[in-house]
């Protein structure tokens, strides 16, 4: 065998490089994206590029062909090589003709078959039991139980259709044929998230529950008996068969001849001990199943693949399996299993049947509780969790009562935090009861020698420590920040922040001594609850802080459990110098004038890295580094992937050092959200976080943002309100909330929130005014928008420039648009909005050359955007629109549809409707009006889609305006969007 073909003389290293590039390219969605990726990754290496392009050419060609010959051959091999159906096909069993063998298992062999007489097209699965089975007995039992088994008509249970004896005397069962993979395989292959796995499990459980209601116990539940089809629907096989086969005895046949019928990892202790089989046996088996689909491991390990029955009994009846979270190989999964899910699995798998869940329904209910973040039964009675969950329930009731009373008595007053909207009210927050709540005001610096970062550090640590107390509501850091260096009226602060107590303090440093004065004040009476001063060495600063926090807890008559006590006494770092660097970095980072990375962010990065060098177990420093890198990644134009990778590394490092740190867990969640835009994973990560803390405000904010992306509008509003409670004066949070309401066309809700915000905030902020203007425009109130914007006549950020141009456009004041355009700065001209608005004006004025050149600009900007991020929905949509306007109709439509495919509603509920609107524009421009209207109609009920005022006023819609159908669309958009629960 000689090498007759010689192409390029590649080196292995070169091949590895090319291989990666091509593999990545083939994961892109369109030829231009693939070509662009290859080109950019090969850089200047012409040789590499040439080789890669040869392969890419093959890749494109292969995608064009209807079939892939190599794949076909491989597939053919999989069916030809591993099946013995050559001998078996064509064989007749009863009224059926065997098509091929499906599987061979302990009980016998399963065939795919069809009616031999062709009477029915439907294919069935036939299980032929193996020799040695008592045929007559089995068939007798089938006859007597037939009516029971026939009753099992459930979408997730495969029907048992018939039974009989083969020519050579073996009993067989005819069952509904199910095409799918065993549930554990499915979960792995589809890479389901933990919540998705749990939902699948719930379907399985409901099928088992259904059978139990019909008095049928499965007795042999295991992954290979539960197949999941391509639609993700599970089907349970072999219901009733175990009883028919193992039958007369109570247990599954684990003695003597039927030994191989036993699945070591699924058999319950009672089965192994020959004790009665009940519904609890299925509960146990479902526990094993849940264990496997969560951890991808089996609960028990045996010495060999074929252990003796004694070994199985010894192991299953005596050993406690390790918790799923401890055996999974995936750290992230481990974190989400830790706690509830470990407990649920352990509860279902208890050795003693009557100590397990009472029924499959109970088991399922607990899993559902976990999914909806309610306390699970499996963890009740185990220490702190019970106390806490009872307390939470209690608080909930209290919150409702308190809310209702307040509503009656003080309707209309601004004290009403809870009456935001009737349907959000029903879910009054778990944390809303102000029975014990505190605002730790920023500390003052006394005398000289205490740098501001040091003073802030002391404050921050006390705030963080108090945040670890679950029974105490603590206003978040940013919530108290506005009071820094201001004279304090405690009563007023209490009212504004909704807290019952306030902590004030000052810090003085002289030499190596630090002196801290604090006082705790009851805001309702303005009375001092407690005051003290601490005079210590600087290096004892952490001890002072945790001592202080513990004293406050005692003064508020709260008790700490040991977990909380430990958390509070934990030092952030043992290295004071590292701590100082960290605090300086944080001060710099928090003080950044904008979000875009500048010298401050670089400097902060350097400082925090130095801090980590001094103490590489400094969790909070890693968390800060994570924020710095993520911000730099997200808000820079080049989206430097190194920053993204660094952000992941620091989040991972933080979690490695302190897996319990909520700040670290949030850092990872933020990485998923901001870095990867992976909202499902963000949500999943957020679910793993439970305790309340100083970061809770941020927790709810992030939850609210991600829920919005996932289309969970109600949850998003609720969590944003919770965040606002912990940070009542945050303009940013109000902006988020108002934007959500605007997307739902609930402008009245928006206005109410804006009113509340302006009462809460002493000064309007540019961001808030902007969203105020937006709300006014949405409700068709253009003078109102002017009024809002005129609060900040001197602000000329890109957002303000765009808003002003947009407003003039809606007013059809084209002269004003042009005036604003001529004043626009270069940053503004780098936005597609600028060119799209100018193009609209040019079109209205009939200036087609100018219009064209505007779209050419849009095109090149979109191209730039796609280079940075090939699936960027904005750029894809804008590119499509530009192409449509420039006459590249087919490409435009294809691109717009491509964007819709890339961004389905489930992936991003904010982006998906925007992609649809782009498609409408493209279709309308390219003369496909009917299709355009069809898409428009789809958009009517969808949040973040159409707004009536925009449809009415925006000249961009003029190309559809003459059509009577357009008026129908406008009329249909008058109503707010209802959100089902």
């Amino acid at each position: 065998m000689s090498n007759t073909r010689k192409t390029g003389k590649l080196e292995p290293q070169e091949w590895h490089l090319i291989k990666k590039i091509i593999a990545d390219a083939m994961e892109q969605d369109s030829p231009p994206l693939r070509a662009a990726l290859v080109e950019s990754r090969c850089g200047d290496d012409a040789r590499l590029l040439a080789e890669a392009e040869l392969l890419l050419k093959q890749g494109e060609a292969s995608l064009q062909e209807p079939t892939d010959s190599l794949e076909d051959c491989a597939e053919h091999a999989t069916t030809t090589l591993w099946h013995d159906e050559l001998q078996e096909a064509g064989r007749r069993i009863g009224a059926y003709r065997v098509l091929r063998r499906l599987a061979r298992g302990g009980m016998g062999t399963v065939y795919l078959a069809a009616r031999a007489d062709g009477q029915f097209e439907k294919q069935v699965a036939i299980k032929v039991l193996k020799r040695g089975t008592d045929t007559e007995e089995v068939l007798r039992r089938f006859a007597s139980e037939r009516h029971i088994v026939a009753r099992l008509d459930h979408p997730n249970i495969a029907r048992l259709l018939d039974a009989g004896t083969t020519e050579d005397g073996l009993p067989y069962f005819v069952m509904e044929y199910v095409c799918g993979s065993p549930v554990t395989h499915f979960v792995r292959e589809e890479n389901l998230t933990v919540p998705e796995r749990l939902n699948l499990f719930l379907k399985i459980a409901s099928a088992v529950e259904f059978a139990h209601q019909n008095q049928v116990i499965h007795r042999d539940l295991k992954s290979s008996n539960i197949l999941v089809n391509v639609k993700g629907e599970p089907k349970l096989l072999d219901f009733g068969i175990a009883k028919l086969v193992g039958g007369g005895r109570n247990s599954l046949d684990v003695t003597g001849a039927g030994e191989d019928r036993l699945t070591p990892n699924c058999a319950s202790p009672e089965q192994l001990n020959g004790r009665p089989v009940t519904g609890a046996t299925d509960v146990y088996a479902l526990g094993v199943l849940l264990y496997e689909i969560l951890s991808f491991e089996k609960p028990y390990k045996f010495s060999s693949g074929n252990p003796t029955r004694d070994e199985v009994r010894q192991t299953v009846c005596k050993q406690e399996p390790p918790p799923p979270s401890s055996v999974t190989r995936d750290n992230e999964t481990a974190r989400s299993l830790h706690g509830d899910l470990d407990a649920i699995v352990a509860y279902a798998m208890r050795k003693e049947p009557n100590l397990r869940y009472d029924s499959v329904a109970d088991f399922a209910a607990d899993v559902a509780r976990h999914l909806s973040r309610e306390p699970v039964r499996a963890r009740q009675g185990t220490g702190w969790y019970r106390t806490r969950s009872l307390m939470i329930r209690h608080r909930k009731t209290f919150a409702r009562l308190a809310g209702a009373t307040l509503l009656l008595l003080l309707a209309g007053s601004s004290v009403l935090f809870w009456s935001r909207s009737e349907w959000a009210f029903k879910d009054a927050s778990l944390y809303s009861t102000p029975s014990n709540s505190i605002a730790v005001l920023p500390f003052d610096s006394f005398g000289e020698g205490a740098p501001s970062y040091f003073v802030d550090g002391v404050h921050d640590n006390i705030l963080t420590d108090l945040g670890k107390v679950s029974d105490l509501k603590v206003i978040s850091r940013s919530g108290v920040a506005p009071y820094k260096g201001k004279p304090k009226n405690v009563k007023e602060i209490g009212r504004a922040l909704g807290v019952t107590s306030v902590l004030e303090g000052s810090v003085q440093v002289s030499g190596n001594r630090v002196r801290i004065n604090t006082q705790l004040i009851d805001t309702r009476t303005d009375a001092q609850i407690w005051a003290d001063h601490y005079d210590r060495k600087t290096e004892d600063i952490f001890e002072v802080q945790s001592e202080l926090a513990q004293t406050i807890v005692a003064q508020l008559k709260l008790t700490l459990n040991s977990e909380e006590k430990n958390a509070i006494s934990k030092r952030p770092t043992n290295n004071l110098q590292a701590y100082e660097l960290y605090m300086r970095a944080r001060e710099l980072f928090n003080g950044m004038p904008g979000l875009s990375p500048g010298p401050e962010s670089e400097e902060a990065r350097k400082l925090v890295q130095e801090a980590i060098q001094l103490d590489n177990t400094f969790t909070r420093a890693y968390c800060l580094l994570n924020s710095i890198d993520l911000t730099a990644y997200r808000f820079s134009n080049d989206h430097n992937p190194e920053r993204l990778a660094a952000a992941k590394e620091s989040a991972d490092a933080a979690l490695r050092i302190d897996p319990q740190s909520e700040e670290a867990q949030l850092a990872l969640a933020f990485y998923y959200y901001s870095g990867l835009n992976d909202y499902r994973r963000t949500e999943e990560q957020l679910r793993t976080i439970r305790s309340s803390s100083a970061h809770t405000g941020w927790y709810y904010e992030l939850s609210s943002l991600v829920e919005r992306r996932l289309g969970k509008w109600r949850d998003s509003i609720r969590d944003c309100e919770k965040a606002i409670e912990l940070n009542p004066q945050s303009a940013e949070l109000f902006v988020n909330l108002v934007q959500t309401y605007n997307g739902l066309r609930r402008y009245e809700d928006s206005k109410r929130e804006l009113d509340l915000a302006s009462k809460r905030l002493n000064h309007p902020t540019p961001r808030l005014a902007l969203v105020q203007s937006e709300t006014a425009m949405f409700s068709g109130d253009l003078p109102g928008a002017h009024a809002a914007l005129s609060q900040f006549p001197d602000v000329s950020t890109v957002e303000y420039q765009r808003e002003r141009m947009m407003l003039a456009l809606l007013e059809h004041d084209f002269g004003e648009v042009r005036r604003l355009a001529s004043k626009a700065d270069t940053e503004m001209k780098k936005t597609t909005s600028y060119w799209l608005i100018v193009a609209a004006v040019a079109q209205a004025e009939g200036n087609h050359d100018e219009e064209k050149s505007c779209y050419a600009q849009v095109k090149s900007l979109a191209q730039f955007g796609l280079k940075a991020r090939s699936n960027d929905p904005n750029s894809l949509g804008e590119m499509a629109v530009a192409k449509a306007m420039l006459g590249e109709a087919d490409e435009a439509v294809a691109l717009a549809r491509h964007a819709i495919e890339l961004w389905p509603e489930q992936a991003d509920a904010l982006v998906a409707p925007m992609c649809q609107i782009r498609l409408v524009e493209v279709l309308a421009t390219t003369g496909q009006r009917d299709a355009a209207f069809e898409t428009l109609r789809d958009l009517i009920p969808r949040p973040f889609g159409l707004a009536q005022a925009d449809l009415k006023l925006n000249p961009m819609w003029d190309f559809l305006r003459a059509d009577p159908r357009f008026d129908e669309i406008i009329a249909a958009c008058a109503q707010p969007i209802e959100i089902e629960k």
């Binding site: 065998m1 000689s2 090498n3 007759t4 073909r5 192409t7 590649l10 292995p12 091949w15 590895h16 291989k19 091509i22 593999a23 083939m26 040869l54 392969l55 890419l56 093959q58 890749g59 060609a61 292969s62 892939d68 010959s69 190599l70 794949e71 076909d72 051959c73 491989a74 053919h76 091999a77 999989t78 069916t79 030809t80 090589l81 591993w82 050559l86 499906l102 599987a103 061979r104 298992g105 095409c179 799918g180 993979s181 065993p182 554990t184 395989h185 792995r188 292959e189 992954s223 290979s224 197949l227 089996k298 390990k301 045996f302 060999s304 693949g305 074929n306």
Partner: protein, 197 residues
């Protein structure tokens, strides 16, 4: 659909999977010898590999394994080589399949053979898809020189008839990795097959 394939991995096996990289030396094979021994050897080994793929292990199987294995290794490598785990065994099977097919293909050029055994069916299928098994073999050798693991994946997929999942399992790497490797390898083979003609 393939079910019943849930081998319980022991830690020792995992370690072996990681360690063992079965290099594909290209020992020339005498065609005459092959034609005598191969069909039987092939069926035996296929059955063994099939059992292993299903995770079935029995004492009886092990004894047969030893016999077949020894026969095969003497035959292919000319000396004793220890086979150590499932991956290795299935790898050997894929290897044997590959060589047997090539051998058949060559023989076929000399005289048309009948029969409807597995190998024959497979070859006919290749033919229907315009795949020249010898050209493919050469291209695969070339790929093996650049990247032995990738070539191994192709061998398991194409000649071993394993699914992506099964290969991942056998080689103890992730299915995603196998899929990437296989995708790119296919393009390489396409290129080689189209330019080699």
């Amino acid at each position: 659909m393939r079910i019943g394939h849930e081998p319980a991995k022991t830690s020792a096996e995992t370690a072996l999977n990681g360690r063992e990289k079965n290099g594909h030396s290209d020992t020339p094979i005498s065609r005459d010898d092959l034609s005598k021994v191969l069909p039987e050897l092939y069926e035996e080994l296929r059955a063994l590999a099939s059992n292993y793929l299903r995770g079935e292990r029995q004492g009886q199987t092990l004894q047969r394994t030893a016999l077949v294995h020894e026969a095969y290794l003497r035959f292919v490598h000319g000396g004793p080589v220890e086979w150590e785990n499932r991956a290795h065994l299935i790898g050997i099977f894929a290897r044997l399949m590959r060589q047997t097919l090539i051998n058949r293909a060559v023989a076929k050029n000399r005289l048309k053979r009948g029969g409807n055994d597995r190998l024959q069916l497979t070859l006919e299928f290749y033919e229907s898809r315009k795949i020249d098994v010898r050209a493919l073999n050469e291209a695969l050798q070339e790929l093996g020189a650049l990247d032995s693991r990738q070539a191994e994946i192709v061998e398991l997929r194409f000649f071993g008839g394993l699914s992506i999942e099964e290969i991942a399992d056998v080689l103890n790497i992730s299915p995603a990795t196998v899929k990437r490797e296989w995708t790119v390898a296919k393009l390489w083979l396409r290129h080689a097959l189209s330019s080699g003609k």
